[in-house]
């Protein structure tokens, strides 16, 4: 059984990446919008509760990768809108290529057939 902490860590990193990518794809968005979008795209597989998104948002803000400001939503509700910063864009690029190469490596390892020889 994977350790609770390590599972959370993995989830955290992934969630942060998804948030960055979401903001990149749809532009400035509030917490609820980001959470809905991730739910829709991932088919509810990643977010256990929508509330968990806020830990990710605060973390990304502290890194300076996203910036938040209160504003009005389409249906005139007050909400805090988050947008990608310039360093956030760079981070997204770096994270994406890192993720790709990581999954690539893991994929290759997992594909090795038993017996050693390929």
């Amino acid at each position: 059984m994977p350790q609770e902490a390590s599972r959370l860590d993995l989830l955290q990193g992934t969630l942060d990446l998804l948030v960055l990518q979401t903001l990149h794809a749809i532009g400035p968005q509030h917490g609820y919008g980001i959470a809905r979008r991730i739910e829709q795209v991932s088919g509810n597989a990643l977010l256990i509760n929508q509330g968990t998104i806020y830990a990710s948002l605060v973390r990304l803000q502290q890194h300076g990768w996203i910036a938040g400001a209160w504003g009005q939503s389409d249906n005139n509700r007050r909400a805090k809108f988050y947008s990608l910063t310039r360093s956030g864009r760079r981070q997204l690029q770096a994270e994406t290529s890192y993720w790709r190469s990581l999954t690539d490596v893991v994929e290759r390892v997992l594909r090795t057939a038993p017996g050693g020889a390929k």
């Binding site: 609820y32 509760n49 929508q50 968990t52 830990a55 890194h63």
Partner: protein
């Protein structure tokens, strides 16, 4: 960069804890509103929409805790909270706190004081330039004249040794001279040491103001000139810089004050601890040449020379010098680093003292530990509740350790003035033969050590109560005494082992002190051959302008008058007190002449005062 930035944010988040929590709640409200709007748009009725929105969001507290972990430093966050808690707890139990702080102040204060006392002697280099290359050379004997050298030996060593860049010396018998200072109120006896050329230059001591001695000032009949010790300058000359260049009356002659020595250099505290030296004057080696062993030698080794090779050189050089000048006294050379010479004899006693106060601190720890252990019984329930509510045992331990550190820090804070007081009292006592006493300060370094000791102490005495409380079984503690017996037994075991440890340490200290006192009593029991009790010494000095006859008349008259006092039983005159120094030079049977080297080695002489 980004990691630093994050750390900064995290630390800031600590400070604006509540504001950030409010911000979270505002965002959550907005989130629920937006989610509910969404559901309504999809045809869900408003009440159900709000319910579903809350469900999708998840628990508020869990999300908030999640966010808090992300935004802040959880450990520090806890620490700040624990600190407040510890502080309130200590204030609540004022009696216990006061007693513990007082005990700790004594233990920590004593340790700070002893550390300050020991540091200049054992832990710091001497206050000289490149003190490591300075050496002390002693002759083979142990008495003062056995350990010193003749002027010719000093000069030969200066000329011939290759391992040393320079030699210097001082007149070791300066303490026996009687010097009077006039012109500053009542005449006063002062202590003056004569130093060989370049004494201060070899050591690397620069005057605080004025200048050092000039080469011509070491010549016979040169005008008198002195350097004032920093202590005398502040004590008697009002720390007035204008005294440099003025004259003082020393032994009825004006002596020019060439300069003031720096506070970091106190001749007596380095070379002759337990005495006082007020002035330094140039030694006229020319005049001293016919004298016996009178010079204490200090050398500076050439860069890169080891003490062993220097020692080897002197071993061959010594006999060669003696062979070239057979009229010299026989001598040997014992070379030690100057540092070792200065601290050498006090090293062990000071280390023992250090060990002793260390043991006292251990007793203090055991005592406070015991106090806290007693309190932990009363607090078992409090901690059982916290454990039952899900506090980790690590947290409980952290809480107790923090309480301990806070307590010890308070003790340390109170111990600092105590250490100040102790060191001041010790420093005032000029007769204490501890080298470098003038350099003893409770300085920033000592305070740092105090802080370290306080924190260490706090951690140590929290261990046992911490172990006890963290092991509390919440269930049995909460369901009350019936099942408390096993815990009670372990508790009793802890307390009694603490007491045993305390008694053991106390015994060590007691036995040590006992032995010390016993040696001291033995010293007092030595038969001196005379009875020092009830006797007192008065040192007289006659002006140099008097003839020998006048001086004799003066002294005879003085002793006659002293004898006439009703409180005096008997009085006599001597120029050498019992057990003081060997006093054989210049003595012979009246009327007899002696060839060099044929004077009798010693005399027993008595002076009987003429009957009145």
């Amino acid at each position: 960069m980004s990691a630093l930035r994050r750390l900064w944010h995290r630390l800031r988040a600590l400070a604006s804890h509540q504001a950030l929590d409010r911000e979270f709640d505002a965002e959550r409200d907005s989130h629920l509103q937006l989610a509910a709007d969404d559901y309504v748009r999809r045809g869900v009725d408003p009440d159900e929409a709000r319910r579903r929105a809350r469900l999708a969001f998840g628990g508020r507290d869990a999300a908030l805790e999640h966010q808090r972990d992300a935004r802040s430093v959880p450990r520090l966050d806890n620490l700040a909270r624990d600190f407040g808690y510890a502080w309130r707890g200590l204030r609540r139990e004022r009696g216990l706190t006061v007693i513990a702080v007082l005990i700790l102040a004594i233990g920590i204060g004593a340790n700070t004081a002893v550390f300050s006392l020991i540091r200049p002697v054992l832990l710091k280099p001497l206050p000289f330039d490149d003190a490591g290359s300075l050496v002390w050379v002693a002759n083979t004997g142990t008495s003062l004249s056995g350990a010193t050298f003749q002027v010719a030996t000093y000069e030969a060593l200066s000329r011939q040794s290759r391992s040393f860049s320079e030699w210097t010396a001082y007149f070791a018998f300066f303490g026996y001279g009687v010097n009077s200072l006039t012109g500053l109120g009542d005449p006063e006896r002062v202590s003056i040491v004569d130093v060989a050329p370049r004494f201060f230059e070899v050591l690397g001591v620069r005057p605080a103001s004025g200048r050092l001695f000039l080469p011509e000032e070491y010549q016979p009949n040169a005008p008198a000139v002195v350097l004032v010790s920093h202590d005398f300058w502040t004590r008697r000359l009002g720390a007035n810089p204008a005294v440099v260049g003025t004259s003082l009356g020393l032994n009825d002659r004006p002596a020019l004050i060439a300069g003031v020595l720096p506070a970091t250099f106190s001749f007596s505290s380095i070379f002759t601890p337990g005495t006082r030296v007020d002035f330094v004057k140039p030694a006229t080696l020319e005049t001293m040449k016919p004298w016996g062993n009178t010079l204490s030698l200090i050398g500076r080794m050439q860069p890169g020379t080891t003490i062993e090779s220097a020692r080897a050189e002197l071993e061959t050089l010594g006999p060669a010098i003696r062979a070239a000048q057979p009229e010299l006294f026989r001598f040997g050379t014992r070379l030690t680093p100057l540092q070792e010479h200065v601290s050498g004899s006090m090293r062990r006693p000071l280390l023992v003292l250090w060990g002793a106060v260390g043991l006292v601190l251990l007793i203090v720890c055991a005592n406070v530990s015991n106090l806290l252990l007693a309190r932990s019984t009363a607090r078992a329930k409090e901690f059982a509740v916290r454990l039952a509510l899900g506090a980790g045992r690590g947290r409980i331990f952290q809480q107790l350790a923090l309480e301990g550190v806070v307590l010890a820090s308070l003790g340390g804070a109170l111990g600092i003035p105590l250490a100040y007081l102790l060191t001041t009292v010790v420093k005032r006592n000029v007769t204490l033969a501890i080298p470098l006493l003038s350099q003893v300060h409770v300085d920033g370094y000592a305070l740092l050590v105090t802080a370290g000791v306080a924190i260490g102490t706090g951690l140590i005495f929290s261990i046992l109560p911490g172990l006890r409380l963290a092991r509390t079984d919440p269930q049995s503690a909460l369901t009350d005494q019936s099942r408390g017996t096993t815990a009670g037994r372990r508790h009793a075991w802890m307390r009694s082992s603490l007491v045993v440890a305390e008694v053991v340490i106390a015994c060590v200290l007691l036995v040590g002190t006992g032995l010390l006192i016993r040696s001291f009593v033995n010293l007092l029991d030595v038969d001196l051959g005379f009875r020092p009790a009830g006797s007192t010494v008065l040192t007289l000095k006659a002006s140099r302008d008097r003839s020998t006859e006048q001086t004799v008349a003066l002294f005879t008259e003085a002793s006659r008058r002293v004898r006439g006092l009703s409180i005096v039983q008997a009085a006599g005159l001597t120029d050498a007190l019992p057990l003081d120094r060997n006093r054989s030079w210049g003595i012979g049977v009246p009327g007899q002449t002696y060839a060099p080297g044929t004077r009798p080695g010693g005399f027993t002489y008595t002076s009987s005062a003429p009957a009145t």
